[in-house]
Symmetry: C2
Subunit: 352 residues, 2 copies
DNA sequence: CGTTATATGGAGAACGTTCTACATTATCCG
DNA sequence: CGGATAATGTAGAACGTTCTCCATATAACG
């Protein structure tokens, strides 16, 4: 009683594993064993220790844990929180983690590859137990190099050939196909895709996958081999300009599939401004089923890839890898169409 | 040359401070001194060490740093990433931190007070150097208790009496006043506020501040002492129901000030659905100037509180406290009106 | 030239865990 | 009852830093 009290005063009152040990009258190692519920702990010992922990309000230092063994933290890396799709992923991750003893720490690398690497390195230096990379910009071999040091699951990164890390994806090719099929079913024949500029998405990004799916669906639909794709730059002034040009084009298509709600919603706004009626003059299908798309004012048909589920699955996959699985897993999730007015006035895709 | 190589092989090839020391032919302490650029380092020594660091690609372990001293990490706590205002704050934080040697780690506590405390504790256990709490739900004395263990800046938390921690806020009272003044200037006399349900916001939350500002402005405008406020519950089914009821009320006001764009945008959607014309039948001013408000389809007038600036200021304040300032600072930022169609057809607030 | 001040580098003890190797008991079995 | 086996608890060495003394070398000064 007096020994640990003396220590607590002397050491600016932080409760350490040692405080607990002396309070419970056992060794430090014993407390550690109980904490990690390791083998070789009697009920009596466990009771004494848990009591002491309770009484003292002991919390193990993550820093010290990280130094020696696991830190029970998993890192999540986002490239851009502005995309309304990401909060869903986080919610999924947190949902799975909540009942466990793991916790998530999020790093945001505002689209700068430089910062992205340095954040991953930081997380490794923290001895985090695993990493979930959401739509990383990094090339596969770099990610593989990191994966040698820490378990990694990539979300929104189509690299089914990766052996060093797992991937969890919505089937973006199929998602694009579904969008085109819905437009075809509504009778539209003149369909174009709005995609992201070359510089922004690498070969394994979701955007390129959607392009592949778009082309295939167009071809299958018997609309010839030319599947026109207009690329939108990401920089604000050029971005709107490109969309305006698209909307005022003489040979503007009858329907458009847009790679993301982010751009689709802006397109709808500009269309209204320019007097292009949706869907009478132009039908639009977006991607992500963001909350904005669901607004009555916007009413944008969109492909739903449940971000929440993606987050959940990614987390489970990561934990299984942390706990010893070797050999990469590549998981796909099926997206679905949410039909709304921008597709057809009734808000219903006609049954074929 | 051979010594450190042997070590690197033997220790699974992590470059530690020791590796650097032997490579540079100096002591471990010397390397540490250079890293922290502490006093008592000659140019020659510094050169040798930085060279070795460069060659070996050494990165200090954050875990070990945290155990002993500073971890050069600051924690950011968010209650809900869904609010489009928060990405801006993050961007501000990251912007200020980028050129420094600090890094931000974000924790998301999905509106559960339980998780909020446990995340703060985790961040303390990580020996983070400081915390930025964004719109925390916790009572002031609890935050003060934490602030005894770690420097804390609260954003969106109106507690100018706090002595243990700093606060950075937009002047939410003034923001509400500006909104009401704009409505008055447009000639509206029958003004109501849509606010957040009692349970969601405590006394020092931004919502309550906006209510105070609303009441004062109404009174100053000579509209009597009754300033009607309708509270919207946060749960999805009740939420829309309450708004619908509001819109179909016989004595529906002529204009409404809404505590957040999040709800204002939904209100606009429902209004359209129910045939209530905006602004002819009902003028609306929101709060946050979110990207959705700016959409042509939505065109919602809104109060802008630069989240980015809030994040920047909060970060600078935190760093100054980390570096030794004592005595609390309470900083205010002035919000401004962004006028759009939901206020008056021209999108301009009439000059008074 | 002796004394004191100053600048520079190093030894080594923390920090709070984990975890291996070992010591001690308890249990079992013929 | 003797010996083997299993169960339980403990010592103590890591982990990779920081940081407080110390030791030494150099400069300054009377």
């Amino acid at each position: 009683m007096s020994i640990e009290e003396k220590k607590r005063l002397q050491r600016n009152d932080r409760v350490t594993i040692r405080t607990v040990a002396t309070h419970a009258g056992v060794s430090v190692a014993a407390v550690s064993k109980v904490m990690r519920n390791a083998y070789g702990v009697s009920e009596a010992l466990r009771a004494k220790v848990t009591d002491a922990i309770e009484v003292l309000g002991y919390r193990p230092s993550r820093a010290a844990r990280g130094l020696r063994g696991r830190s029970f933290t998993i890192g999540v890396l986002l490239i851009d929180i502005r995309n309304p799709f990401l909060p869903e992923v986080i919610a999924g991750v947190n949902g799975v983690l909540a009942p466990s003893h793991y916790q998530a720490m999020i790093g945001v690398s505002d689209a700068r590859v430089q910062l992205e690497t340095s954040l991953i390195e930081s997380m490794i230096d923290y001895k985090m137990d695993g990493l979930i990379l959401v739509a990383p910009r990094l090339p596969s071999d770099i990610i593989a190099k990191f994966a040698a040091q820490i378990p990694i699951v990539a979300v929104g990164y189509h690299d089914a050939g990766a052996t060093a890390f797992d991937t969890v994806n919505a089937d973006d090719q199929r998602g694009a196909e579904i969008a085109v099929e819905a437009l075809l079913a509504c009778g539209y024949r003149d369909i174009e895709m709005l995609s992201l500029g070359e510089r922004e998405g690498h070969q394994v990004s979701v955007v390129r996958q959607r392009e592949i799916g778009f082309r295939r669906a167009i071809q299958r639909g018997g609309l010839g081999s030319s599947a026109p794709i207009t690329k939108i730059p990401i920089a604000p002034p050029k971005r709107e300009e490109t969309m305006r040009k698209f909307l005022s084009r003489k040979n503007r298509p009858r329907a458009v599939f847009c790679w993301s709600d982010l751009d689709a919603v802006t397109l709808l706004s500009l269309a209204m401004e320019m007097g292009v009626r949706v869907p009478e003059d132009l039908a639009v299908v977006g991607y992500d089923n963001s909350s904005t798309a669901a607004l009555g004012l916007v009413n944008l048909a969109s492909i739903d890839q449940s971000g929440r589920e993606l987050g959940q699955v990614a987390t489970r996959t990561l934990i299984s890898r942390i706990e010893g699985r070797t050999g990469a897993e590549h998981i796909f999730q099926m997206p679905s169409l949410v039909s709304r007015n921008s597709l057809s006035r009734s808000g219903m895709a006609p049954v074929t």
